[in-house]
């Protein structure tokens, strides 16, 4: 990454730095508030004094008040299942688009791109009825299924596969490699950074997804964290902000931790996923 020093006269440098930090603090405010409230006794949830004692009791209470281990497991299964299906399906489809000329390929590609505009999130009524018909309602599979074929993934991989030099492909064919071998040994390894980028985007999207899982699930056995958190914070009589913020932090913790650890990769992967 380039780190340019501005060649312009820096009259406003100090002012810019201060403004940038003020905005950053505003942006972090919800998180800072959550950290404060979750780690202090309920009496200090809305009182900000420096001598407030620290406690982990809110996390213990939240953990015991709802089946969070189950919700974590459900979300983990969900994002793993979606990612695995997306990677396989998108790789196959992208390979077909990038390396084969066949009649109807343009029409098919247009049909894929349509999903970038009309995501399954919009078609909740009809998709709910489909899940009912398939007898899948209230299963983890039913949350993931509409997202298995990802237009974004197909598009991203197709663009990447198209940049693979044709010579590599032809050389492998001369060597007697099958289409499958060429895909697995030439294309997939070369697209690794794109796979990582897509994986991060996909996992964070589906970890955070809410409306569709809210509609299609209604039991502890299938609910992901996001829906579990909503059920938890809305059935509570009398809002206990300390426990809600503790639960909120728990729900976002894995992604937040991953983000802190792999900040660079995260940001770069979003950039890569965005510009291609």
């Amino acid at each position: 990454m380039i780190a340019p020093t501005s060649p312009f006269a820096d009259r406003h440098r100090a002012l810019e730095t201060v403004s940038a930090w003020v905005l950053a603090l505003l942006w972090l405010l919800p998180l800072l508030y959550a950290l404060w409230t979750a780690f202090h006794p309920a009496a200090f949830a809305t009182r900000f004094t420096l001598d407030a004692p620290l406690t982990l009791q809110n996390f213990v209470n939240a953990w015991q008040a709802a089946p969070f281990p189950r919700y974590f497991l459900n979300t983990f299964l969900l994002v793993t299942m979606i990612l695995a299906a997306q990677l396989v399906l998108a790789t196959l489809a992208a390979y077909a688009f990038a390396r084969f000329t066949f009649r109807g390929s343009n029409v098919m590609f247009m049909l894929v791109l349509l999903q970038l505009m009309v995501m399954p999130d919009i078609l909740i009524v009809e998709n709910y009825q489909t899940m009912n018909l398939l007898g899948l309602r209230d299963t983890i599979l039913s949350i993931g299924l509409p997202y298995f074929a990802s237009a974004f993934g197909i598009f991203l991989l197709r663009q990447t596969f198209k940049t693979v030099p044709r010579e590599l492909d032809e050389a492998a064919t001369v060597e007697g490699a099958s289409a499958w071998q060429i895909l697995m040994q030439v294309y997939v390894p070369l697209a690794r950074p794109i796979y990582i980028a897509f994986g991060l985007v996909s996992v964070s999207t589906h970890w955070n997804n809410f409306l569709w899982p809210l509609i299609v699930t209604n039991s502890v056995e299938s609910r992901p964290l996001t829906v579990g958190l909503q059920v938890f914070s809305s059935t509570d009589q009398g809002v206990d902000w300390s426990i809600i913020t503790a639960a909120t932090l728990m729900t976002s913790a894995p992604l937040l931790l991953a983000f802190l650890l792999f900040q660079r990769q995260f940001v770069q992967s979003f950039m890569r996923a965005g510009i291609r």
Partner: protein, 291 residues
């Protein structure tokens, strides 16, 4: 070695993804249109063809018009602000400001946090009597205000949350674009005596145009898609003042269980998204083709 004819293989590769795409995107979109011409089956009464009845109902439904208007205001109020902030953020973190890493982290954090989770915290910010905003305005001696309970302010309060959530995400795309601009241009502009301000408006901003168009399309789609915070914070209230189109569809479909009216509403949403798609493919893609 056995080989498939070359025309079969691509279809074989394509079919798993195509089957799912058709099952959960194309078929439901068409079925939505079809079902919008029928009545909702209720108990022993089966669904019957009612033609445009659902649309006639919709034309007379004040809640629909309000949700549609709210959604347009929501788009108009959030998108320009989120994009402007995203550009500002990207310019800042592209320079060597003190603590650049932390700044990047701060701006981008909302993107990875679940909207549903942070909506709970925003809910507290807006809570009357003891919420954070109330404590600040109280300390300044300003009168108390129920931000989410007042039809005048509720949509604005939700727009703030959406801008907060999205600006950092858009920043990433601008940052990527800024880093593609050759530093030679900045040096040349500085040598010519251009100010930082002139350099931005004359050089950087025009070069960011393709990114802005890309971000704009994403922002438009999101404006009609993102309703998580409404479920948590207001449930469309008070008096439907914060209901957006998708939220209203959710309410009609899954609280009132009126699936055919929900289908008709979905058709409107699909038409809006279709319009965005048309503009994208017709106008924008042609103009950004040089990329």
């Amino acid at each position: 070695m056995k080989r498939l004819p070359s025309s079969v293989l691509p279809w074989l590769l394509l079919s798993p993804a195509m089957v799912l795409l058709i099952a959960f995107t194309h078929y439901p979109a068409l079925a939505t249109l079809w079902h919008s011409f029928f009545s909702t089956p209720k108990g022993v009464r089966p669904s019957v063809f009612v033609g445009l009845e659902n649309y006639r109902l919709m034309a007379d439904d004040p809640v629909f018009w309000q949700a549609l208007c709210n959604n347009l205001w929501f788009a108009l109020g959030t998108i320009p602000l989120a994009i402007a902030l995203a550009i500002l953020m990207a310019l800042w973190v592209n320079e060597k400001l003190a603590g650049r890493g932390v700044l990047r982290l701060a701006y981008f954090t909302p993107t990875v946090l679940p909207m549903i989770a942070v909506a709970n915290i925003w809910l507290f910010f807006y809570t009357p009597q003891y919420g954070l905003l109330e404590q600040i305005t109280g300390a300044l001696g300003l009168p108390s205000h129920n931000w989410l309970g007042n039809p005048q302010t509720v949509l604005g309060a939700l727009m703030v949350v959406a801008v907060w959530k999205e600006a950092g995400f858009f920043m990433i795309f601008y940052l990527a674009a800024l880093q593609q601009i050759s530093p030679v241009l900045a040096e040349a502009a500085a040598l010519e005596g251009a100010s930082r301000w002139q350099y931005f408006w004359r050089v950087q901003f025009p070069l960011l145009m393709p990114t802005t168009l890309f971000v704009l399309i994403n922002a438009l789609i999101n404006a009609f898609r993102l309703v998580d915070h409404i479920v948590v914070m207001t449930k469309g209230g008070p008096d439907n003042a914060s209901s957006l189109l998708l939220y209203y569809i959710y309410e009609v479909g899954f609280a009132f269980w009126d699936s055919s009216y929900a289908a008709a509403l979905t058709v409107v949403l699909l038409a809006l998204l279709g319009l965005i798609a048309l503009v994208k493919f017709r106008v924008l893609d042609r103009r950004t083709h040089y990329q």
